[in-house]
């Protein structure tokens, strides 16, 4: 084989590798180039930690005992051990007007859990906080505003 033939063969062999490279790089950048950018998986525009949060609302499930004391209901009761998954589950339930259905589902799990034996009812709530003052002022963890989205009993 001559040098020219070897060179030509080498260049030809590189074409598929080059094509694959161009396609993968373009696909990686595609979600960010779209208008508006689109988050998906595994191709993403990686929007985490980029949003400006002034005084955001958080959507949670709160438990109450017979005396009216509040008990925080953990992510496992709402979705699974992943807190972000639980947060999204409550947010979507509120957004899609399914808070009542979520409340009933969580109540069923709470009824079967020994950790929440004193909880007799649940509420799906939206609470507004200022993240800048939540940890830095004495009453920062008191909601600025609060709305009840659903309420249900825990039946045992």
């Amino acid at each position: 084989m001559t040098h020219a033939q070897a060179g030509g063969e080498r260049r030809f062999a590189r074409v598929p590798a080059l094509l694959i490279s161009v396609v993968v790089v373009a696909a990686t950048m595609w979600p960010a180039l779209r208008d508006p950018p689109r988050d998906s998986f595994p191709l993403s525009n990686y929007p985490m930690f980029s949003a400006v949060r002034e005084r955001p609302w958080i959507h949670i499930v709160v438990g109450f005992d017979a005396d009216g004391n509040e008990h925080r209901i953990g992510p496992k009761m709402i979705a699974n051990a992943e807190v972000m998954q639980a947060a999204q589950t409550v947010s979507k339930a509120v957004a899609y007007k399914r808070a009542g259905s979520l409340c009933a589902q969580v109540a069923e799990r709470v009824a079967g859990s020994g950790d929440y034996a004193q909880v007799v009812r649940l509420e799906v709530q939206s609470r507004q906080f200022d993240p800048r003052t939540y940890f830095t002022t004495r009453d920062g963890d008191t909601p600025l505003r609060q709305r009840r989205r659903a309420r249900c009993e825990v039946r045992r």
Binding site: A13, R14, A17, L18, I20, S21, V24, V25, T28, M29, P31, A32, P37, D39, S40, F41, P42, L43, S44, N45, Y46, P47, M48, F49, S50, A51, V52, R53, E54, P56, I58, I60, R72, I73, G74, P75, I78, A79, N80, A81, E82, V83, M84, Q85, A87, Q88, T89, S91, K92, R98, S101, Q105, R127, F129, P131, R132, Y134, F135, T136, D141
Partner: protein, 315 residues
């Protein structure tokens, strides 16, 4: 282009990257197994398919999900060992793509496994079992082993592509911050509110939060250098492709960034934290060769010594 992209690399380098990525993926599949499997029983109304799962209009039967996870785990172990990699590598990559995508179909898109999946998909297209593998051992025993030059660009281009995908992910994260918050992101206030918001959300949702992040919320000045550093690391990520020394500085900086995120937000991006995400940027075969040489001198007959490679020779 040739000098930048088709850089010759030893087959062992690609093989070490295969071992690192597949090891991480197998450990991830096992560690996240309970979470992945419990998610299969989520109520159908929460199903929001994305990516390759967009083909589905309703969740799969949980038994199919369990089967996909188990087959992917088995394929992952085979890919790690480099057994029939030309067939098993793509099977494993597609299985991992499916399992991780399905996990993201319940309302929350996580960003912690994107690079792992992209790297695995690229790896599946490469001759990653030409060294340190059962395939290589079988080839060396055959009567007519295939003659291959080593180092060669066929072992280098895929590593460049994986490295490019890694730096692009960080570049896009930096661009998203500038696009969504503008230059205000650099004054530290947006970062402070993100850290405080994430921690308060965990408290309100009854989960563990980071006391360090909560304490730092009282010191806004701290977040200005943190914001600048993270932005420089993210927007400067492509520079890591142009020189190993820059790559070292960048990778260590990015790793420290993820340690910071873990400490102040209790969010773990395990793939970059493990260092495996940055492996395609480096000559990762050298520490393996050094370890193998050292063990051969000290314990020539140990099982671990036999498992480690001899230069670019087979398993």
């Amino acid at each position: 282009m040739s000098a930048v992209w088709f850089v010759p690399a030893p087959s062992l380098r690609l093989a070490v990257v295969r071992v690192l990525i597949c090891s991480f993926a197998v450990v991830w599949l096992l560690g996240f197994g309970p979470l992945l499997l419990s998610g299969l029983w989520s109520p159908a109304e929460r199903f929001e398919p994305i990516g390759v799962a967009s083909l589905l209009s309703a969740p799969l039967a949980p038994a199919l999900g369990v089967g996909a996870w188990l087959l992917t785990l088995i394929a992952g172990i085979a890919a790690l060992l480099g057994w029939r990699f030309r067939l098993i590598g793509p099977m494993f990559a597609l299985g991992l793509l499916w399992v991780t995508t399905y996990r993201n179909c319940w309302g929350m898109i996580f960003h912690s496994e994107n690079l792992l999946v992209m790297h695995t998909l690229i790896l599946a297209m490469l001759p990653a079992s030409d060294a340190w593998s059962l395939d290589a051992r079988r080839a060396s025993r055959s009567a007519l082993p295939e003659a291959r030059s080593d180092p060669h660009w066929r072992y280098g281009w895929g590593l460049r592509l994986m490295a490019a995908v890694t730096v692009l992910a960080y570049l896009l994260a930096g661009v998203a911050k500038l696009r969504n918050a503008g230059p205000a992101w650099l004054d530290g206030d947006v970062l402070l509110s993100q850290v405080a918001w994430d921690n308060l959300r965990k408290i309100e949702l009854g989960d563990l939060h980071s006391p360090i992040g909560a304490t730092l919320s009282a010191y806004p000045a701290v977040f200005i250098p943190l914001a600048w550093t993270s932005m420089i690391l993210e927007l400067g990520a492509p520079l890591a492709l142009f020189g190993r020394r820059v790559a070292w500085v960048w990778a260590v900086g990015m790793w420290a960034f993820h340690v910071g995120v873990l400490l102040i937000m209790a969010i773990s991006f395990m793939y970059p934290l493990s260092g495996v995400a940055f492996a395609p940027l480096f000559a990762v075969e050298r520490p393996v060769e050094a370890l193998a040489a050292r063990l051969r001198r000290r314990r020539p007959n140990s099982a671990l010594t036999r498992l480690l490679p001899r230069g670019s020779e087979p398993l």
